[in-house]
Symmetry: C2
Subunit: 362 residues, 2 copies
Amino acid sequence: MAHHIENEDCYSGLSVNSGIEQPPTVNPYLQKRKKKQTYTAAEYTEGILKGNRTILSQAVTLLESLKPEHQVIAQEVIEKCLPYTGKSIRLGITGVPGAGKSTFIEAMGMYLVNDDHRLAVLAIDPSSERSKGSILGDKTRMEQLSSHPNAFIRPSPSAGSLGGVARKTRETIMLCEAAGFDTIFVETVGVGQSETAVHSMVDFFLFLQVAGTGDELQGIKRGIMEMADGITINKADGTNVDRVNLTKAQLTSALHLFPLPESGWSPKVLTCSALNGINIDGVWEMITEYIAFVKESGYFDHKRLRQSKYWMYESINDQLKSHFYNNEKIDALLTEYEQKVVDNKISSFIAAKELLDSYFGK
Amino acid sequence: MAHHIENEDCYSGLSVNSGIEQPPTVNPYLQKRKKKQTYTAAEYTEGILKGNRTILSQAVTLLESLKPEHQVIAQEVIEKCLPYTGKSIRLGITGVPGAGKSTFIEAMGMYLVNDDHRLAVLAIDPSSERSKGSILGDKTRMEQLSSHPNAFIRPSPSAGSLGGVARKTRETIMLCEAAGFDTIFVETVGVGQSETAVHSMVDFFLFLQVAGTGDELQGIKRGIMEMADGITINKADGTNVDRVNLTKAQLTSALHLFPLPESGWSPKVLTCSALNGINIDGVWEMITEYIAFVKESGYFDHKRLRQSKYWMYESINDQLKSHFYNNEKIDALLTEYEQKVVDNKISSFIAAKELLDSYFGK
């Protein structure tokens, strides 16, 4: 341990060898990055449009930043990129824990980049504990893909509400599209309402399943089955094949009980083995068939437009609420009113009315 | 046609027989009602607590009125009734068209009132066209029940947003409870999100089905299966019994694919024939078993409290939005911004930001 004494002359009671130099507590690489030049919105945009992954990555970091001055630049970059967005196929991927999502994304991703696609893999994962299931927090689980020049892998922002995280993911999609990525994967671990958020920003929603009995399949989150444009049962290999086929029959018959989705496309149930690369092409074929089908019918554009409007209104409604609930007066009153309602002392509607009156300063 | 000329003397070009007197354009009964005395909040409350159905009915009309002065009295009545609410069993009923909801409610209702229950039947039906399926617009379809002294049948308010209609229905539940009704049915025809609204105000949600193949069962609205605490397949009579039993097996197996609801209660699939009065008691027994189960576990109270809080927040969020969207400045800008987003001229988020800045006067 190297002790530094300000005035060495007046201290002689203890001789201390200076020893080896300690590594700094801050990673010098990070320090260097901090000192790195920041770009103007025009420079970011230029870099993104050239497909520069480093600048793209820095722009996403800016987007995720909570600092207002970063937000201003980030929003300007998005506006400038806007004319170059929208040309990718956006694929949402969800699945029960243990469905092999990371292996699947690695296999499907390698299949695509080897076919000259440029692929961005993003995630919505509002939980702060990465280990809970997000595959993208651990890029090493997608070793090949993460080092491939045609792939861009970006974990979910680690903090914030689902609404905030989803919004940032949606903005990241736009930057990736401007950077020339033609295929976007948005992964979710299925926490809370995150499937709905993913569903509202993708063209095709894939639900990854594993073989199991009814009881095991109960891991299915409510409503996911009905959101899926396609279901794929992974791990169809070895002695597992029979069980996978049984599950396929069960899920096909269950899907039959749901109404035909608005797209007019009947969701298919396929099987694959991501580990052994079996039928990865078949799954991709299903997706491209779907895209061709909805482009032909006009549903593709219809859905995209609706999603854009949805995000405008979602963003407005989110911010109206946060403006209200972050109001100091309201914050002070809310617990009190909630308790009164719970104690049946005032009705829910009177409570709401009085809080709103206070907010609007009546 | 009787023409009324202001100054008959100066007009002689055309002789008009006065003809028969035309019926007034306004129903004289309605006019009479208008002249009827209005009560004070205290008088309404007294009448309701005495179980006076006429006064209850008038109070509900007041509640449904859009006039602010009526709303003030109505809210006061609700506050006064509040201590006497909460003691009923609230049952939500939905079903595909043709499932025989009116026959079922008539049969189940008669079964209950004959067993000394006091039953109120309400509805959530935000569509303005009653004929589309609301059973309560046509009381004659529940002839026996509607004339029974222990039953109170009230159709859905005919106009307004789902949020508004649902709120009024929830307030009506409270008035009915204060008037001593121990069982409340809330019926919905399953338009849009109305099941979610019903689900958020009842203790038990019953989904009425009919026999059918997978294709026919596609009439099931997304998500309903997962909301139901019980499914009953109606029309289990005559030659239909085999088909009903097959459907029962299909639905039971499909339910098996869903996770166990939070209540810890496994939803059951029963059959009945409302027309022939078969197994109506069985269905009621399932409901009372469920109620006993969740009262024992504490889930009953937990759900009720959560519903109260839900309605407070729902009411706040609804009104925050309506305050924003009814703002003149916003109203003038909204279409323009929506179009800009659709044309990909500005991002959804910038559009939202600029609208919010305008609203908050920045």
